[in-house]
Every structure is written in structure tokens, then in C-alpha cells.
Subunit: 77 residues, 4 copies
């Protein structure tokens, strides 16, 4: 059964305060080697045998991401 | 500047009601080809030049995931 | 149209690394007056005229929270 | 020790696909009495004795919400 992964992130120009909080925490905890953090959502979809994978983009646009403020990528894990 | 991605998902034995809700919605909207959905978190970390990438696992275990209920994977995008 | 709010939080005994990250960031940014942070999910449900509000608890248990690891509260805003 | 709750929601004009997915799932599962669902984030902050509660709004604006796309409310639970 094929699995497809959809990762959703805020568009680069949109501030991500949660990512900023993690970055700030990293600095405080001594992880100086990290210069940026962005947080997003991750979805794993199991497709039925013979399912049309083309629908995954449609699903991502409709139910998983808001295309006005978010980007998404689709990949095979 | 190397980027590293950390994906965090609930352990397989832990119920994911949000993923279930998406699966149910997909069925209602006619996307019959999807047989399972799991939802997780996605983090993108930018590492400074020469940063020790080995710390990423430590960061994931401490700040990004709760290892009791969640798994994580680390990859280069 | 009555609105109902469902707030979902990890059970107190379950570690919340995201809340910890925010707490750590607050310390770094000089907000010393905060001694604990927990992160959860927030849902606002609009009920149709005459809807049976008793179903909200059932919805929360099934689709919004995982009762094994999460608690939820229901309230009128 | 006073506790303060910050709830963060997408601004009303911004589409919330996750809320839509839950609404759609509710319809499929027979919960016809719900006419709208919005999803957000929920934060519980414990303040130290004598802490200045006025900083909570500042924290919410900086670390918990992105004021361009999100609203927040602060309340005593």
C-alpha cells in the first residue's frame, strides 16, 4: 500500500512565532548551531491499491493546507 | 547553509483523532482511494556553517517530540 | 447560533516539549514571571438552532481529543 | 499561582481547512447539528507570585500568535 507524505509550512514571508520560540529556546539551551526554525504540519496518507495519486495534490489544497498562507510538498517517504 | 527536517508523528499504537477526522472527511468528499491518515508536526532547522548535525537528534528528543508518545525522523530535504 | 468551545490539553503527567520550548524562550526573552507553559488545541463549534449540545462531549471524545493522552474542557465563550 | 489562558485562532476571513475537515467528518458521522468548526491553539501560562499580568498580551503577540493572520484572547480559566 503506497504511502504519501504531505508537509505543510507557512509561506516564507509569513512570520512563524512558534518556530521563533523554538529557535530562542535552542539558544538558551546552548544549541548555538541552529540559525532558523520553521514549524509546520506533517500528514501521512495511505493510498488504497491502484489509487490515483494525482488526487493527493487536490486533497492537500483543499483539506490539509490553506494555499493563501501555506505551501505544501508531496513526497514518497 | 544545510537544512535539516524533523518530522514528528504519534506512535503507531496511539490513536490520532485528527487524522481520523481527515480520513472521514475524505470519504465524505469522495476521495475513496485514501485508506489511512496520520497527522504530525514538521520542523525545518537551518544549521549554521560547520554546525554539528549530531545535535539535531538531541534537539528532536528534547524540544520537538515527546519520545513516550511520539516518534521522529530526521532527514535532509 | 450558540457557539461552544472545546479546549484539548495533554494530560498533566505527559511531558509537553512544545510548552517547555516556549517557557525556555520566555526566560531568554526576559519574561521571568512565567513559571509554566502548556500547549493544547482549541476548537470553536457553531451549533445549529436547537442542536443537542450533549453531543459536543461525544464529538470531543471521538474527533477532537485522544482520551488516553489528552483531557478536554467544554465551555460557552 | 495564577493561571492565564491564551487562545489563538485564525482571523475569521482566513480559511481554516482543518476546521473544514472536522466539519465535514462530523457531517459524515451523523452530527448534523454542527454548522461550523474553527481550529486554533490553546496555551496555559502559570504566572509566578506577583507577576505582572500585563506582559501576557505582549507574550501572546510575540511568541504565541502571528497578529497578521491570527487573533488571540486572554482569560482567567
Amino acid at each position: 500500500m503506497p504511502r504519501v507524505v504531505v508537509d505543510v509550512t507557512l509561506k516564507p514571508e509569513i512570520l512563524d512565532p512558534q518556530g521563533q520560540a523554538i529557535l530562542s529556546a535552542l539558544g538558551r539551551l546552548g544549541y548555538a548551531g541552529v540559525s532558523g526554525v520553521r514549524q509546520g504540519k506533517h500528514f501521512e496518507l495511505d493510498l488504497a491499491e491502484g489509487a490515483d495519486e494525482a488526487v493527493v495534490a487536490q486533497i492537500a489544497e483543499t483539506l490539509l493546507a490553506n494555499p493563501v498562507i501555506e505551501d505544501f510538498t508531496i513526497r514518497r517517504p
